[in-house]
């Protein structure tokens, strides 16, 4: 029976590992490949940590199972090894993990800087944001500047509006202004590996560069009320021409009502 317990503590990590190995083929893994270059680097960092953690997981669980197995194999009357520890072992398992952890921390810095520190943002994003992405309970409101204009923090008369759909050009870095109108929300684009909270009172610039055209999900990742789960939007990444055409269509829909002149005179 004693050996059963040692095997018990060996058995479940094996199940856990098998589950993780199976996961990508079962769809229990990332929602598609990273949609941005930044996402690829984040995924690379994830895989680096995953490697280190897997080795540690196997090592420590094997050790735990082994000390139990060894104890289970001995008779009840066997005297325990009288020891208060080992100074050199303590040094080893302090210094080695310290360097590994410090390495992990330092290795992450440049990706973080590029993602969030504005002076590290790509040149193309410095001309301004293509749109304002405003969260509210429970939808995302997109505000584009009028064609040929630049985006202002305050709404302008010619601005173009859309709900729950953002169109951006493929293949170049774009920046959006993330805001919230009411409570705190968070912009989460899982396929693009992007997340940023939208904080009341702040305008937070978020940039991304999606090389491949397509539709990408946007969800809310900060509890914002009962309809938190419903804040579904999408980012449509397409060619610059398609974006331009979309803007013209928006402008037409929002400025032309069919009997412009008469209505204008009556005003």
């Amino acid at each position: 029976m004693k050996k059963f317990w040692a095997i018990f503590f060996w058995f479940w990590p094996v199940v856990a590992l098998v589950l993780c190995v199976m996961a990508p083929s079962q769809g229990w893994w990332f929602p598609g490949p990273p949609g941005t270059q930044m996402g690829e680097r984040i995924q690379g960092l994830f895989e680096l940590i995953l490697g280190i953690v897997t080795v540690t997981f196997i090592g420590t669980n094997f050790a735990l199972g082994w000390v139990l197995w060894q104890a289970a194999s001995k008779g009840d009357d066997k005297k325990a090894f009288y020891s208060h520890g080992s100074h050199s072992l303590e040094l080893i398992w302090t210094i080695v993990p310290a360097f590994v952890l410090l390495f992990i921390a330092l290795y992450q810095m440049d990706v973080w800087a590029e993602y969030r520190v504005q002076s590290f943002y790509p040149e193309e994003t410095k001309q301004g944001s293509v749109a304002e992405f405003m969260a509210r309970q429970f939808e995302w409101r997109v505000r584009y500047p009028a064609i040929g204009e630049t985006l202002k923090d305050e709404a302008q008369p010619g601005d173009l509006y859309m709900v729950n759909e953002l169109h951006v050009p493929a293949g170049r870095p774009v920046k959006i202004n993330l805001r919230t109108q009411d409570v705190q929300h968070a912009f989460f684009a899982p396929q693009l590996r992007l997340k940023q909270d939208a904080v009341p009172g702040l305008i937070i610039p978020v940039w991304f560069d999606v090389p491949k055209a397509g539709n990408y999900d946007v969800t809310c990742a900060e509890l914002c009320g009962w309809g938190h789960y419903k804040m579904k939007a999408r980012i449509v990444v397409e060619s610059q021409q398609a974006v331009d055409a979309y803007m013209r269509k928006l402008q037409e829909e929002q400025t032309e009502d069919g009997f412009v002149e008469e209505a204008a005179e009556e005003e």
Partner: protein, 610 residues
């Protein structure tokens, strides 16, 4: 005051023991008791009941995730009383469920079961004192729990059953600051904040008491480095509480005044929530996050360190070996506590705070993994080549170590800021903190209940039932929480009433159903614990003073100890972990009580010199 002279004080009690204590009436003895043991047991029973409440809330959450919008079995009928939709969980009810699950589990189970129940019961016994330094304060610390429970309970119903507090246990403003923000942001949120404050008052009274008692009332010979690691952990926890709690209490008051008196600490201007009047502001929602996490990150260690200390004690006893690296264990706990104050920002990597802070908090957070790693290696070292007793206490302790490994390692992903961009607020974090708080802390608590049960009630718990409880809980726990890592990697956000609303999450439904079945198994297994607990109080096998052949001072007292604890004021001669030492062998046994005078002719072993 007698507290500065513990031996004398204890002696007084020993003299007066046996006469004068019969006159204590039932109410003073068992209800408004000032005896630390009774208070500890009161805390334990209360928290076990609250554990079942929190568990029921969790199962309702799991039900919705596995069978969204389907009527709940059993519980649905009960909740249906308050609701028009019958037993179906509405989204606002769902947000209330997870908010209250977290609030109950953290504030009414984990914190009070460690510091309140075991801290109270063990501190005087393990340091050889006759009671706490401030017995009345101690009694008040328990009785302030009930108003807190009342406030949390009121918050459930004040706005109708669907409008319980729904801001999450973190209660970020604006959602929690403006009445109109959500159905649960009305009076329910205010009552929730009162409950939080009262829990804080209770904890603060406890922690003042623990610090004073541990510093002033140790038995002669009980030097700091002869204290069991349980006492070290309680001491460090009390310090953490004392320094961190005022910040939360202050933040709570600020939020209450924002809500009731029209201040704007956390409310910026021009915010229109739910068609309410625009706010007149100037405040900062991020301020709340800083203040909240400045408490709540150290609180994570308040919820873990005592379990670490107790597990070290129990592992050493069950392996009949000294703790591997006693001093490194103490120093690493101190390091966790110290670093614990400068890592709170890792909860806020995506919050929009200054990105430079992200880098500093990442480095400090990575560093806090180090003492945890040292402790894990030392636990494995403690088991190594021991004469291991494979009873339920040992198994729960080994379970603690195994699950803490998972919780610790998964934390590294989220400590790394760029990786956290993706994992923040997904199920990965839910997996992580459940491995630490359930996997580690609660398994430590299960072990501690069985280990100290004979000291509390003079009887042993049934080991076979306890083993079945361990296996079922361990299997249910892993079945519920391990797949959450994969859900997180698949990008499933937390706190979603219906994740399948999003097409990229649809295929995760079967896995969620499996997890729910595991959770139900785990929930049912807890009735074994409660049953075993209740049955053993009345009918368990009788235990003598020292059923585990352990070394601590508490095992030299009668089981259960009378008022004043010890027959005579104990004197401590050595560290608490001298199992299988030459001194013990000289007595023909593998343990030697801290109170046993050194046997003649054996060289004194002192763990302080290593």
């Amino acid at each position: 005051m007698a507290t500065v002279s513990p031996a004398l004080h204890g002696h007084d009690h020993a003299d007066s023991h046996g006469h004068g204590h019969h006159e204590i009436g039932f109410i003073k003895k068992y209800v408004f008791s000032t005896d630390h043991k009774v208070i500890g047991i009161q805390f334990l029973v209360t928290t076990l009941l609250m554990l079942m409440v929190g568990g029921a809330l969790a199962l309702a959450v799991r039900w919705q995730l596995a069978f969204p919008w389907e009527n709940m079995p059993f519980l649905g009928d009960i909740f249906g009383l308050f609701r028009t939709e019958g037993g179906q969980i509405s989204p606002e009810f769902y947000t209330m469920l997870f908010t209250m699950h977290a609030s109950v589990m953290i504030f009414l189970v984990i914190i009070p079961v460690l510091a309140g129940a075991f801290g109270n019961f063990l501190i005087p016994l393990q340091i050889g004192a006759d009671d706490m330094a401030f017995p009345v304060l101690n009694m008040l610390s328990y009785w302030f729990m009930w108003p807190a429970i009342f406030c949390f309970g009121t918050s459930f119903f004040i706005g109708g059953a669907t409008a319980g507090p729904a801001g999450g246990w973190t209660s970020y403003p604006i959602l929690s600051a403006i009445m109109e923000a959500a159905p649960g942001s009305g009076d329910a949120q205010t009552w929730w904040l009162f409950g939080l404050t009262l829990v804080g008052v209770s904890s603060m009274m406890g922690s003042v008491n623990y610090m004073t008692t541990i510093i002033n009332m140790r038995a002669p010979g009980m030097t700091l480095f002869r204290m069991p690691l349980t006492i070290w952990s309680m001491f460090i926890t009390a310090i953490l509480q004392a320094f961190a709690l005022p910040v939360l209490t202050a933040a709570g008051f600020m939020l209450v005044t924002d809500r009731l008196l029209g201040t704007v600490f956390f409310v910026p201007s021009e915010i229109i929530v739910n068609n309410a009047e625009p706010t007149v502001g100037g405040g900062q929602p991020l301020l709340w996050q800083h203040l909240f996490w400045f408490y709540s990150h150290p609180a994570v260690y308040i919820m873990l360190l005592p379990a670490m200390g107790m597990v070290s004690d129990m592992l050493s006893c069950m392996c009949r070996k000294p703790v591997f690296g006693y001093k490194p264990m103490v120093y690493s706990m101190a390091a966790i506590a110290g670093l614990g104050f400068i890592v709170w920002g890792h909860h806020m990597f995506t919050s929009g705070m200054n990105p430079a802070l992200g880098m500093t908090f990442m480095t400090s957070t990575m560093m806090i993994a180090l003492p945890s790693a040292i402790k894990t290696f030392n636990w494995i070292g403690t088991i190594y080549d021991g004469n291991v007793k494979f009873n339920a206490v040992m198994l729960n302790c080994a379970g603690f170590v195994a699950l803490f490994i998972v919780g610790g390692l998964s934390g590294i992903f989220m400590a790394a800021v760029p990786v956290d961009i993706y994992f923040h607020d997904t199920y990965f974090i839910v997996a992580h903190f459940h491995y630490v708080l359930f996997g580690a802390t609660l398994f430590g608590v299960f072990a501690a209940i069985q280990f100290w049960f004979p000291k509390m009630f003079g009887r042993l718990m049934n080991d076979k039932v306890a083993k079945v409880h361990f296996v079922l809980t361990f299997a249910g726990m892993n079945g519920t929480f391990f797949p959450m890592h994969l859900l997180g990697i698949a990008g499933m956000p937390r706190r979603y009433a219906d994740p399948y609303f999003h097409t990229y999450l649809e295929h995760l439904l079967p896995m969620n159903q499996f997890m729910t079945f595991s959770a139900i198994l785990m929930g049912c297994a807890q009735f074994l614990l409660l049953g075993n607990f209740a049955y053993s109080i009345l009918f368990g096998e009788k235990a003598g003073r020292n059923p585990w052949n352990a070394n601590g001072l508490e095992w030299s007292a009668p089981s259960p100890p009378g008022h004043g604890n010890f027959d005579e004021p104990p004197v401590c001669y050595r560290g608490p972990y001298e199992y299988s030492s030459p001194e013990a062998e000289a007595l023909g046994q593998d343990f030697i009580l801290q109170t046993s005078p050194p046997p003649a002719g054996v060289k004194k072993a002192d763990p302080a010199h290593h």
